[in-house]
Symmetry: C2
Subunit: 200 residues, 2 copies
DNA sequence: GTCTATATTCAGATAGAC
DNA sequence: GTCTATCTGAATATAGAC
């Protein structure tokens, strides 16, 4: 029995799962574990729970990711790519379109639905404590996001400041207990976003 | 044996620890567990580790706090009171003093030393997932902090926006891998802080 | 007032059946 | 490719000695 025979046996093994099953499972795992991590926290979510959110077990999880750290790196890339895609359609210099996107970001709906929201307010603090490899993956994806936003607002520093303002406001609003206090904080952030754009 | 007798026995029991030992232990527990939580994350820090940071065991910890949740509430109040105290000395309307404080906050030193830094970038995301009682404690202390800052900058909305900008910038800078990217983000936030103050 | 020891649950990760 | 079962260590919390 040599390697060639082994390869033939593997490639002629009856297909027990549909084509692309592996890729689909990985995508679902990425999407659903990200949603759970954003809602409950990444450290607070066990591998069993992250896998079950995608309808599989931890045994399957470890066939797709090396471990929790590797998952967090993958989540960084996938989530920030998704956030970036939302800004990609805006025309450069279209300030009102940028402000509409900012107002959506700084909404009570976003504050109250972390699972469907941006990864930055939900996961940045944990990413700051993650291994360097994860932070490198984050930095790459973050810089791409900032580059796209910079195109729209004209300057990288303005794009960065807009993002830090938005992320800080959503993060702090979620820590507040009452809707009234949340609304007030978001309102102040919306005004600040306009000041930042105006000073660009 | 009645209650009165019990009270006498307790109050005449030989003192095995110095006066104020209990209060001192509680203060140390609060201070050192907060530092550990800011550095490693609150959820990621076990009760044993939080207690050991203060030089005691988890057995002693539970004589001072009902549990982890109660500790987080206490940390919110103590830490935000400390942050508030740093702004209390600034004179109302002294914009340069405010900007000096903001520049310290938005420094690489602060980004690289979470244990000695502000609790907001380190713990807000986890507070957002904590029980309502903890978020109520947070909201009370946060509103007091904003009130003091509002005095200095003239308007509550300006104070709020300044805080969200600073917290977002430090949180995101910590998630970045390289010092260069961190410096650039902080620099953009410093400029934005001036725009926010100018627009007040 | 604090410690040691422990009960119980749950974490991340792996082996082998199918 | 996924599941079941399991190993090992660590989590929160409590009981009782001193």
């Amino acid at each position: 029995m040599n390697d060639w025979v082994t390869i033939v046996i593997l490639s002629t093994d009856p297909m027990r799962y549909p084509r692309n099953h592996r890729a689909n499972t990985r995508d679902t795992l990425l999407r659903e574990s990200a949603a759970l991590a954003k809602r409950e926290g990444f450290a607070a979510s066990g591998v069993d729970a992250l896998a079950r959110a995608a309808g599989v077990t931890s045994g399957a999880f470890y066939k797709h990711f090396g471990g929790k750290d590797a998952l967090l790196s993958a989540i960084c890339e996938a989530e920030l790519d998704a956030t970036r895609a939302r800004f990609a359609a805006i025309e450069p210099g279209a300030t009102e379109q940028v402000l509409r996107a900012v107002d959506m970001y700084l909404s009570l709906a976003h504050v109250q639905n972390p699972a469907m929201g941006c990864a930055l307010p939900a996961l940045s603090a944990e990413i700051g404590r993650a291994p360097e490899q994860t932070r490198l993956a984050f930095e790459r994806a973050f810089e791409e996001l900032i580059a796209v936003i910079a195109e729209k607002v004209g300057a990288k520093a303005v794009g960065s400041a807009l993002v830090t303002q938005c992320v800080g406001a959503v993060t702090l609003a979620r820590a507040l207990a009452t809707e009234g206090a949340q609304r007030e904080l978001l309102q102040a952030a919306r005004r600040a976003a306009r000041a930042i754009l105006g000073a660009g």
